[in-house]
Symmetry: C2
Subunit: 455 residues, 2 copies
Amino acid sequence: MSLSETLQEHKEELLSALEEGRRDTLDEQLPELRAADLAEILEDLLAEDEGVETVLALLDCLPIERRANVLGYLPGEEQLALSEAMSDETLLKVLEEMGSDERADLFNLLDEDRRESLLRRMARQEREDLKRLASYEEGTAGAIMTSDYVAIPCGMTVSQAMMRVRQTAPDAETVYQLYIVDRDGRLAGTLSLRQLMVARPGAQVDELMIKDVISVSVDEAQEEVARLVARYDLLAVPVVDHEQRLVGIVTHDDAMDVAESEATEDIHKGMSIGQLEDGVSRVPLWSLYRKRVTWLVLLVFANLFSGAGIAYFEETIAAQVALVFFLPLLIGSGGNAGAQAATLMVRGMATGDVGVKDWGKLLGRELLVAGSLGLTMALAVAPIGVMRGGEAVAMIVALSMVTIVLFGSLIGMCLPFVLDRVGWDPATASAPLVTTLVDASGVLIYFSIATAMLT
Amino acid sequence: MSLSETLQEHKEELLSALEEGRRDTLDEQLPELRAADLAEILEDLLAEDEGVETVLALLDCLPIERRANVLGYLPGEEQLALSEAMSDETLLKVLEEMGSDERADLFNLLDEDRRESLLRRMARQEREDLKRLASYEEGTAGAIMTSDYVAIPCGMTVSQAMMRVRQTAPDAETVYQLYIVDRDGRLAGTLSLRQLMVARPGAQVDELMIKDVISVSVDEAQEEVARLVARYDLLAVPVVDHEQRLVGIVTHDDAMDVAESEATEDIHKGMSIGQLEDGVSRVPLWSLYRKRVTWLVLLVFANLFSGAGIAYFEETIAAQVALVFFLPLLIGSGGNAGAQAATLMVRGMATGDVGVKDWGKLLGRELLVAGSLGLTMALAVAPIGVMRGGEAVAMIVALSMVTIVLFGSLIGMCLPFVLDRVGWDPATASAPLVTTLVDASGVLIYFSIATAMLT
């Protein structure tokens, strides 16, 4: 992660103030920086020698609340490194001020002993809340939700609810969406602060609330949560347990983060790269190797089919070595068109634009588009065929191009649907996989046409 | 776009109620559907024969406000088709109730004559506002912003501001973030409704407001706006003109939509597909062809370098035709590793995880990872080399594999940085482009090694 120039300047000023013990400069500079920006500076410092000491010294100049806030913007690994260098007492104070979702995430990174020792020092309710939030499986709504929401009991009046909002304002993640719960804690309805503000003070929240609430279960996949927030333009989505009890909310900003990391995951998957636990510049090398090697080696073996095809046609090749000239071009073109077709389908399925039911219609469209693409590319390559080997070779190459591009596009287009059908992730139809499959079929198509036309 | 089963049921009920003229069923069913869901049903209906008439009949059963709301969830083309079938009078009413950003988008799709005729019927201020919003270039902050925000003049007290919020609540896109403007309309600060609610009623907003506001210029790129909203967890970001006057806001939900469509664009670009104006299942065939063909044809010519390499080594090939067996495998493997490396860099640069400054460090990392990948793949392919052509061929193939994978990965890793350096979009380093470049180098590496070792 490289710092922008402005942040670099800030970093240097902070460092020199810290070295020279100019506390007043620090007190002046630090509050001016936004949490996300300060976190970026700290992350950069942590990569240096003795970074942990420097960063802790800087954090010490901040009030606890802001310290917790900045910490929340750091990646997990960095949070852990800093936590390990803090005393139990300081860490407890910081944890207390963090958002409940971030607190649970950090807690999960700590080692067993540290967790036990911290839990022992906590008040009972705080302990239960933390243990509960920390228990949800990663990638679920439970793991990204916060318990800092405003719950309003059924039967409250508008003015009582307003009072409750004012009281909760400093701690809640959002006060703009209120959740009405019945006596058993079950989600009964929702009300926006906007509606509350224009309502008659004596009215009961039950009369005003929207009863048909969009909510998710604690074990719902996080990408589904993000999709709901995007689809219905929500500020936050409530999370309920299996008894419909309200247990948390996922706010729009966390949903946006999920959407971004899901997009990254999809992009990587499209190139047969497994899910990385961190950014590419920070993930351990061993992990990067493992996430890339699996498919690369599998595809080496898949590529043997191309080799087998070539071995089968060795006589044709030996008789007309000039044919090899066009081999990379033809199979490469088919692979490119196929990878395009697969990518369009996979992304369409991920965003909800394409459904399995649309397969028939899309097949017809792809036939037309791929046919036209193949013809265009055949026209482009035909003159080269004439130049390299005369009209016969040009015919072979042009005919192969149309067939390979058409066939490759159809493989690319259909593979995501087939994978989805058998219960796999359609995104497994990555560019490398499609390219490899198309390579093998391309070899067969090209040399079959050549053998037929030359003999 | 295929409908989920629940929506399909709703659609059929609505249709039969409409046919049989059961207005009471419609009045009961329609309000139960969320705008986004109803829009999906309508979109599905519009694809059928006489869809426009059916949809207009359904829309007629809704109050104008909801009609405008549902319309806003439809894709542009569908909005246009419906607008064209509405009378000026109805369309005017609907436009009036739409969010100002959606109104401007729809207005821009209408033809010249219709626009003129609508403008003539509008009040002056409304007309000016619409013309202004409609004038911003697509893809900029100006084009996605709304003018329905809450502006509070400097000098107002907290209680006056609260009154203003209550008055504006029904029309504003968000009332949760307030913007304080000076006498010339310049953005002076911002205040959250949360802060306002807990403040002393007699205090002035100027004392409370945050002066260091994150804002964007009207001509800022929309992806940059989305990035700011995500980075600083904003509810909305204010948009200012070149004199720092507040002209609009971009809300979190619109920023999330932008982030999604930017991710789609990046994914498509990664496969050398140009920017589509609509989902893959809906975009016109001609457009889909055009957006795919450019690079495919360019790459046909780029692939000629591979052919030229092969032509140069024709003697080696003729002497040892068995070498062709490994050609697709070797260049395919290099292409896959290279495409992975390029994708990791391009996505890292898009999310801000990787900066141009990190190039050196990342080069070192890639050398290590790609070297290990190459060795692993060489070990996988070596036994096949022994089987097909003995130890000499196995050595050639294994050595070529390491070299090609290493070289391919380096090309893939460096290309995005080089493109960025010369002012191009790093995402131009697509999988097909990298694969094609690596193919050509792979041919040269393989046959050079073979020629050297066999003679």
